[in-house]
Symmetry: C2
Subunit: 221 residues, 2 copies
């Protein structure tokens, strides 16, 4: 089941690629990472692999048809390389809860984070910052108690939140805000430090590089 070569198509700045790579690192799976050079001119391999959405990330595993959509890929990795540490919680209710917060991150929180950095409209920026502040407060509350969102170890929700976490720091850097602080978000800051674990640190883009990317994107828009 877990045999065959593994390839990931992604881009370095995409949190969706990052989470796939983190999951593979946690499971100690060797893979080839193929960086998509340009979003304007997509590779043949990407277009062939995901003709429906034409977007990264894509996981190619052995002779199977390629798999798309980051959350689906992370679940696939967890199920196929089941001998490694478990990514999804064991309990059905906790699994549903983790999936819910992942949906929140993808549908609301990350789009707001990105708009807060790249939007040129002051009104959009203000509305997005309100959403981001609300989101950061919710995540602070969620991060209380255990070492990770997944409990003792990095799990599904850690991967999802961890893949967008540096964007919060990018906002603090670019907009001179203090979304993250010892006074307001002590647990989230501690979690962030723990998350910079050896399995994930090489995959995270880094705040400075990501801020540069955000500013370039803003100039383009």
């Amino acid at each position: 089941m877990s045999e065959g070569e593994v390839k990931v198509l992604g881009t370095w700045a995409s949190p969706f690629s990052t989470r796939v790579r983190i999951a593979l690192h946690l499971k100690s799976v060797n893979y080839d990472y193929l960086e998509e050079k340009s979003l304007e001119s997509k590779s043949e391999l990407l277009l062939d692999s995901n003709p429906v959405f034409k977007r990264i990330p894509v996981l190619i595993h052995g002779d199977n048809k390629p798999i798309s959509e980051s959350l689906i890929i992370v679940e696939y990795i967890d199920e196929v390389w089941s001998s490694g540490p478990s990514i999804l919680p064991c309990d059905a209710y906790q699994r549903a809860d983790a999936r819910f917060w992942a949906t929140y991150v993808d549908d609301k929180f990350y789009p707001a984070l990105k708009r807060a950095v790249v939007s040129g409209s002051e009104e959009t920026k203000r509305a997005s910052m309100a959403e981001v502040e609300e989101g950061v407060a919710m995540l602070e509350k969620l991060s209380k108690g255990e070492a990770f969102f997944g409990g003792y170890n990095i799990g599904y929700l850690d991967i999802v939140i961890g893949s967008v976490f540096e964007w919060i720091k990018v906002i603090d850097k670019c907009n001179e805000t203090q979304l993250l602080s010892q006074a307001e978000t002590p647990c989230l800051l501690e979690w962030g430090a723990r998350f910079s674990h050896e399995a994930v640190k090489d995959v995270l883009p880094g705040v400075a590089k990501l801020a540069g990317f955000g500013l370039k994107l803003k100039a383009k828009i």
Copy 2:
């Protein structure tokens, strides 16, 4: 694990509510169905149960915190009432594939179906119809071979596609098109007939009622 009262908050016209109810019916779970009367004035119970998105469907199971998001609820139902027929495919790759097509239905196909009915702009309608036609052709291809998308029995993807299938018929009725026909979509039509299975037929809104709802929505917009 599967003990405790079950309640579903939903609306009759929402495919997202419908899929939760179909999953419960397939598992022979008794539940109370609470219809949200108005999207403008949401019930206290809904706002308390899903404060993040404030939307249906919501599943309340025993003393657990309520669960939101239809696809997450369907997976939860499958995992908790594991003694009933399996909803998700057993194979990890097939599970990923089913989840991918479910994402396609929710992110692209259903929004296009709805726009094709309710949009007042001819341009939007034309573009949406092109997306719908492409989607119907893909689903026809997917439905070839086995009795159901899930194989011998109704499964995850049957529930997801089945919950929006009547919208295709609504378009054919309202726009006088022939998206579904014996010549072009014989497999999808056969699948639709098989899908009207006793476990699901009482939950589907029916084409006439749904068309009336769509036209009302159009007039409102």
